[in-house]
């Protein structure tokens, strides 16, 4: 039925069709980005609730003073597969924020879970004015708008491992890739910082994280999470991935069942097909 030639040809086809997108950036100077061990990678990957809660804490206390998340509603934070806050916590959290609402008395009202995360700046121009001309990007899908480029031929394996964590890997590398001083001979413009992985190296955002900057509450089991830039970066990257892909856990769970079904179904179809073709020389 399937002779060796057919199988080899099929594999060649797969390889050929995969020979595509990542070649694009292969040539440009691509800084090495260390891949991290994410809980949400792979077929069985799920978000770590504690990590998402820590990441949310960093987002709220640090990032959100400049970066928006316009597609995220407060209610999302209580939805399954996310940080796992309770309804009551979300209600209380939303109420801490003032939401601009032209139909409310005075133009503002306290937030409710259905409201979107309020943007730190009213307009893009306001945001630029407050940040030396640079626009802090919105976080809603940012973790999927960044990626890591592997050298040929290693990116071919990504299609088989389903590597989709290039965004968090990049964000983690960016947040840990700051240098106090630019290297010798690099002309760093006024008001910029030097970063290893940012394209062009001169980034408008000053190093946002420092060791011991955010106080993590130890868990009930007494385990303390290190309060380092590295750990903060991992946590906030994971949280950003959740914002970009909030349905990841449900998607993978469904996918596992779908694949299992397809393999079994293909087996049955194969048996039926053989039975029907029995006795036909072909």
């Amino acid at each position: 039925m399937f002779n060796t030639k057919t199988i080899i040809a099929a594999l060649a086809m797969v390889a050929a069709s995969a020979l595509a997108a990542p070649a694009a950036q292969a040539a440009g100077e691509a800084p090495h980005i260390e891949k991290q061990d994410w809980s949400f990678a792979g077929i069985f990957g799920t978000y770590d609730e504690n990590q998402l809660q820590r990441g949310f804490q960093i987002f709220r206390e640090v990032c959100s003073s400049c970066h928006g998340a316009r597609l995220i509603a407060f209610r999302n934070l209580a939805e399954p597969g996310g940080p796992g806050f309770s309804e009551a916590q979300i209600k209380a959290l939303a109420a801490e924020y003032e939401i601009a609402d032209s139909t409310a008395e005075g133009g503002v009202r306290p937030g409710v879970p259905a409201d979107r995360w309020p943007s730190p700046f009213a307009t893009e121009q306001d945001a630029r004015d407050a940040n030396g001309g640079a626009l802090p990007p919105d976080f809603s899908v940012l973790a999927k708008a960044r990626g890591v480029t592997d050298a040929f031929p290693w990116w071919l394996t990504n299609y088989f491992t389903g590597y989709s964590e290039g965004g968090p890997d990049y964000i983690h590398a960016l947040l840990t890739g700051y240098h106090d001083e630019a290297p010798e001979g690099f002309d760093l413009p006024e008001g910029k910082s030097y970063n290893d992985v940012f394209p062009g190296h001169a980034i408008g955002m000053a190093p946002p994280l420092m060791d011991e900057m955010i106080a993590y509450t130890p868990g009930e089991d007494g385990v303390e999470v290190p309060m380092t830039v590295d750990q903060y970066s991992k946590d906030v990257s994971a949280y950003m991935m959740w914002m970009a892909e909030p349905g990841l856990v449900a998607r993978k769970e469904t996918g596992f069942r779908v694949l299992l079904f397809l393999f079994l179904f293909a087996g049955l179809m194969w048996a039926t097909k053989r039975r029907i073709w029995k006795g036909i020389e072909h």
Binding site: M13, A20, K144, A145, Y159, Y163, S164
Partner: protein, 416 residues
């Protein structure tokens, strides 16, 4: 076509219907009794896989259109709304986006299968031409669909591709403005692309009907390329090929589902998660993988040819690389259909495949250094295959002896 019919209306109602609209007779003849060579291999299941993919794309697309907003201010967020808030939206959207890639993977296999086994040769020239027409329509549809999420790659793909038309003398600029609905890519562009993206799949479906009609006149080609001689060479389409094709479809669904559920964005470009900004050009503008070979050809012509400037030259070669497929039946004049019995053709066929893969790779590579040289060589070879190698092979090559019939070749295989 009706000589295969074994249909006799079973009841009074069926008889009444048969005399007025013989739809049951037609279905029985073409979907069940149709005599099909019994030696078709699994490469032949891609016809059914493609029909299935067209249906998948239309169904998921119709649902997406219920939630999508074709407006430059809202399009990007409406696609995110589908992913986040619509029930099952992430799966439907991912199926449609990954589906486009799977559709093209299948169509390339289908085309290359036809090329190897000489399925374009008489009496199947019209069948082949209709197939190429479907391929062109698919490219137009996929391109316009890619613009709809209105990310950076969407907007810049629209800019670059519509720009191609501006190179055409005299009508170029009016055509460009007609396509864009203005001087630059904007809301009118998005609106007309959405409208056409919804229309073209149904045009494809209509051409598919013609394609299958043209298939059912001479019947299927087969791996030996030898004509069907007697009913011993064939089996009825149902249940033999309905079952085999369904099994092929289920197998095809496995990598499809893998991408949809475990890496829905891996075949796309991260930049398309950044909303389109006409003021900011991405570092590399790369089309989707299935356009890369032709994109490489477009870019390879970076020099003037006599009075034709490089831009128009690129467009001529780009268009020519697809148009040349229409003439394939008359460029390859060998009387032997199947590559299996053509010792020299076989080597050049695989060389052509390797060259095509190389073009794919070069389409994504930056236009600098060695890549530019390689792109020119592979572009030259692409055309040389059709214009020089195939016509010459037909004269120089001595084909191996053909089996006298499909049955003979099948029995030979079983006993060797």
């Amino acid at each position: 076509m009706s000589e295969h019919s074994t249909y006799t209306p079973g009841s009074g109602v069926e008889k009444w219907l048969d005399e007025r609209l013989p739809i049951i007779r037609f279905s029985k003849e073409h979907l069940m009794d149709f005599p099909t060579p019994k030696n078709l291999n699994y490469w032949w299941t891609f016809g059914a896989i493609l029909a299935f993919m067209l249906v998948v794309q239309i169904i998921t697309g119709v649902v997406l259109a219920m939630h999508y907003t074709p407006n430059v201010a809202l399009a990007f967020d409406s696609v995110e709304h589908i992913r986040r808030d619509v029930n099952g939206g992430r799966i439907i959207q991912a199926t449609h986006a990954v589906g486009a890639s799977m559709f093209f993977a299948a169509v390339y296999i289908h085309i290359f299968r036809g090329m190897y086994f000489g399925s374009y040769k008489a009496p199947r020239e019209i069948l082949w031409i209709l197939g190429v027409l479907i391929f062109v329509l698919m490219m137009a549809t996929a391109f316009m669909g890619y613009v709809l999420p209105w990310g950076q790659m969407s907007g810049w793909a629209a800019t670059v591709i519509t720009n191609i038309f501006a190179a055409i003398p005299v009508v170029g600029t009016p055509l460009l403005e007609l396509l864009r609905g203005g001087f630059s890519v904007g809301n009118p562009t998005l609106n007309r692309f959405f409208s056409l993206h919804y229309l073209l799949p149904f045009v494809i479906a209509a051409v598919v009907v013609l394609h299958i009609w043209a298939l059912h006149v001479p019947g299927n080609n087969n791996p030996t390329g030898v004509d069907v001689k007697s009913s011993r060479d064939t089996v009825p389409f149902h249940p033999y090929y309905t079952m085999k094709d369904l099994f092929g479809i289920v197998l095809f669904l496995i990598p499809f589902a893998w991408f949809v559920f475990f890496a829905p964005d891996i075949l796309g470009h991260p930049d398309n998660y950044i909303p389109f900004n006409p003021q900011v050009t991405p570092a590399h503008i790369v089309p989707e993988w299935y356009f890369l070979p032709f994109y490489a050809i477009l870019r390879a012509i970076d020099f003037n040819i006599l009075f034709i400037d490089s831009k128009l030259g690129g467009v001529i070669f780009f268009g020519g690389s697809i148009l040349i497929l229409f003439f394939l039946p008359w460029l390859d004049t060998s009387k032997v259909r199947s590559g299996t019995f053509r010792p020299m053709f076989k080597w050049f066929y695989w060389l052509f495949v390797v060259n095509f893969v190389a073009l794919t790779y070069l389409g994504a590579a930056p236009a600098e250094g060695i890549y530019v040289v390689l792109a020119k060589i592979t572009t030259f070879y692409y055309f040389a295959h059709f214009l020089i190698i195939l016509p010459l092979l037909s004269r120089l090559e001595t084909p191996r002896p053909l089996p006298t019939s499909i049955s003979e070749s099948v029995l030979g295989k079983a006993h060797s």
